[in-house]
Amino acid sequence: MRLRSRAARNSVLITAALALSLAAAACGSSSPTASSAALANSGASGTLNWEWELPTSWDPVTSSAGWDMHVLGLVYASITTLDPAGNPGPGLATSWKYAPGGKSVTFTLRPGLKFTDGTPLNAQAVKENIQRGQTQQNSTIASELSVISKVVVNSPTSFTFDLSQVDYQLPYLLAGKDGMMVSPKAFAAKAGVNSLPTQPVGAGPFRLTSYVPDSHANLVRNPGYWDASQIHIANFTVQDITQPEQILAALESGQVNVAYIAGNQVAAAKAAGFKIAVIPSEVVNELDIQTTTAPFTNPKVVEAINYAINRQAIVQVQASGYGTVAYQPFPQGFVGYSSQLANLYPYNPAKAKQLLAQAGYPNGVKITLTNDDTADTSLAEQIQGQLAQVGITASIKDIPEDTSTQFLYLDKTIPFAIDGTAGRASPVEMLDVLYSQQGLMNVDGKTSTTTAAVSQALSQILTVPLDSAGYPSALQNTVATAVQDDPIHIWLYTNPRIFAYSPSVTGIPYDLVQQRWEGVRVAG
């Protein structure tokens, strides 16, 4: 599964030409112009031109990429929101309260909410949204919402979710695409549902005014957004620039004033006078390893691979040093980060050789490493080189990206593969996908069962209230149990979101999960 990270490409000529010109012309970007409409926006001004990938669909129910949440969050408000550290807090709902036993939860909405088409955003609208997410035939969020067995409208500002099992993680889930509210008027008719992928109607900080797929989207501030007082940008554009090398040119020419760049572009962007924000994220690279297939059936082989990999060297080469070595799915600073795993497998090729010998492979072993990113094989080649140093001969097998979901997650026929994940709103949902028996990224799945300790830990953590004092340690223990007892993922490194931005832009928040724009200002 290819991650949406700004990878360094091999167009040396292009990069060099642009870097030289940027360095020579280091004079800042031109200021974007605020439209007259912006002036009417109660103090909001300026245009933020953001280079970022446009969504697969503007409909959160049919969007087919987790990455879409960053852009969808511009037009949709969610029932809850995540704070910079990834913890759920008020959103459209001011508060929530679980019933004793945890099998239902009641939310209280802010009064007087409206979608941008004027439709009231009340408890009935929430009910219709949840039902659409659960029942629309091409919904990509149906399985996540399946925990909600019934939605009860108590009043225009109060609704209750009855749950099929105790699940205190729901507030997390409702901060993402699952909780993004779409105007019921927009999906009442089939024509409306069909138009949502290009004509969203939400209640988020901005309203989409025009959209050209694969090119750009223009948005204006939505004064009716519940937190509009924190939105200081009058106009917002999202520009999708396909070639990383062209992004610096777009910055320098003033076309964009905030751009997502690769680690190897930081120096050129700095030299051109741009500011840099390195924002920690949940995007993490890893290797999937099927411990039911030889030679990985021997735990010492898996351990040897863990010790054979020089993660710091990988961060240096793959991300120019802008990343963090990882031994677990969550980054430092997140509530689920387990300090027990902080240095779980320090690079130790001698120990790796010793473990291989103990496993019965004193003369080395041959394995196949599957790579689905055929456009960039550098990570596969680097891992191949590191494994070779301890006597593991890895042959690289490239497969088309669009077949990996089928072979890796559904058929589970790939024993050893490069993979990655962009994180989830809910940490338990993430762990469930990665380690539970039914989790798609549990590549062992079909032929083995998750260990009892891991299964129990995953079930148990759902029953721990988020506001209980024991929640952080319980979650961290669950992470430690899953990573150590079920070593089907070899964690490599986390990828930060790196933004290069014009000095005219201030206040970019460091959000771990979803990029937000509250408090951001554009001068001029």
């Binding site: 599964m1 292009i14 030409a17 642009l18 010109s21 940027l22 020579a24 012309a25 031109s30 697969t56 669909s57 409909d59 049919t62 087919s64 990429a65 987790g66 035939q137 091409n138 990509t140 969020i141 149906a142 399985s143 996540e144 069909n194 949502l196 992928p197 290009t198 050209v212 797929p213 694969d214 090119s215 750009h216 520009q239 999708d240 620039i241 396909t242 070639q243 062209q246 040119a249 777009a250 320098e252 020419s253 003033g254 076309q255 088309p400 990206e401 669009d402 077949t403 979901t405 089928q406 072979f407 997650y409 559904l410 994940t421 989830r424 949902e429 996908v433 039914q438 798609l440 990224m441």
Partner: protein, 344 residues
């Protein structure tokens, strides 16, 4: 008694002699008929082969759409049914064909956007760049070729010939990058990339398409300049040109009304063959300039096996290429015949 009045044409037909204009009309019609006879089976066969290749590719669009979180076997089966992928291949193809014949190209599996909408949004991007590139190529190449011919043997001629030789070897994407560095990064004259339609303002549209068009026109300009120079040099040596000079006709009139008119044929042929290639070149330039054209759509659709989009693009692109070739061949044929008839 019935009086039958024969018109001139009828009389000519009756005598077995078809007037030139009508003959040309018939030839044009037969060529169009021939073109359609080629188009239909090509589109039919290629679309069927594409469908089969997609099925053989092992990819599973429903699984890809649902991804790491939701691609459970049950969810995949449900989405397969929704997308119509649960039917046998031949039934899937037939369903698509029937819809396509009725003008419905379906919706993208991944974006849910109607294919016809995607294509109609993107086709003008490539077409406008290609057409502007042709105009620029004619202006630049025509001027350079003419100047080189009338300054034959001089430093200007040698300079133009050398520049043309170099320019014709430069791929459009390399020229594109150079233009971005010069005109967008250095002097901020044009945007580095992106596209806005003419509806946003003619100036704004032109500022976005000028650099890709210029990049695309360079090789064609060089081709036109070299062809025009060669043929113009030959024409300028002809006796009738010498005669015109002896008679004291102004040189500009000799050049424009006599020499250029007879020397443009090879350059036009070059342009005719270059135009479809320019369209393909525009597709390559989409990457350099981040243009939302057909090329990006095709690459994304092929990577994800978004069959409705691939099929729709195949239909539109193959139809366009065949129609353009037909128009160019018919036009060139008409030009040469007209020339022959004038000559006789």
């Amino acid at each position: 008694m019935t009086v039958i009045s024969l018109t001139r044409g009828d009389a000519a037909d009756a005598a077995g002699v078809v007037p030139p204009r009508r003959r040309r009309g018939r030839i044009a019609l037969s060529r169009i008929g021939g073109g359609l006879a080629v188009l239909v089976p090509i589109v039919f066969l290629s679309s069927f082969i594409t469908y089969c290749l997609g099925a053989l590719s092992d990819s599973n669009p429903a699984a890809t759409i649902l991804g790491q979180d939701a691609a459970t076997p049950a969810a995949v089966a449900r989405l397969d049914k929704y997308l119509g992928l649960d039917h046998p291949l031949i039934v899937q193809y037939w369903n698509w064909l029937v819809q396509a014949v009725h003008g419905n190209l379906g919706r993208s599996y991944f974006t849910q956007i109607p294919v016809s909408q995607s294509i109609s949004q993107r086709f003008p991007v490539d077409l406008s760049i290609a057409i502007l590139a042709v105009i620029l190529a004619v202006l630049i190449g025509g001027t350079a070729g003419t100047v080189a011919a009338i300054r034959r043997g001089g430093w200007l001629d040698r300079g133009i010939t050398a520049v043309c030789s170099a320019a014709s070897t430069l791929p459009a994407f390399v020229v594109g990058i150079i233009l971005v560095v010069l005109f967008a990064v250095k002097i901020h004259l044009f945007p580095a990339n992106g596209y806005v339609g003419p509806s946003a303002g003619l100036g704004d549209w032109l500022s976005h398409v000028i650099l890709p068009s210029l990049a695309l026109s360079v090789a064609a300009s060089a081709d036109i300049a070299r062809q025009l120079r060669t043929s113009l040099v030959q024409v300028l040596d002809q006796n009738y040109i010498v005669g015109a000079k002896v008679r004291g006709l102004p040189y500009r009139r000799i050049l424009v009304r006599h020499a250029l008119r007879n020397a443009t044929g090879p350059a036009l042929v070059t342009l005719g063959y270059d135009f479809p290639q320019m369209l393909a070149g525009a597709v390559a330039l989409e990457v350099v300039f981040s243009l939302p054209g057909l090329g990006q759509l095709l690459i994304e659709a092929a990577e994800t096996r978004d069959i409705p989009v691939v099929q729709g693009l195949l239909l539109v692109i193959s139809t366009f290429v065949i129609v353009v070739n037909l128009v160019i061949n018919t036009t060139l044929n008409w030009l040469y015949r007209a020339g022959d008839e004038v000559g006789t």
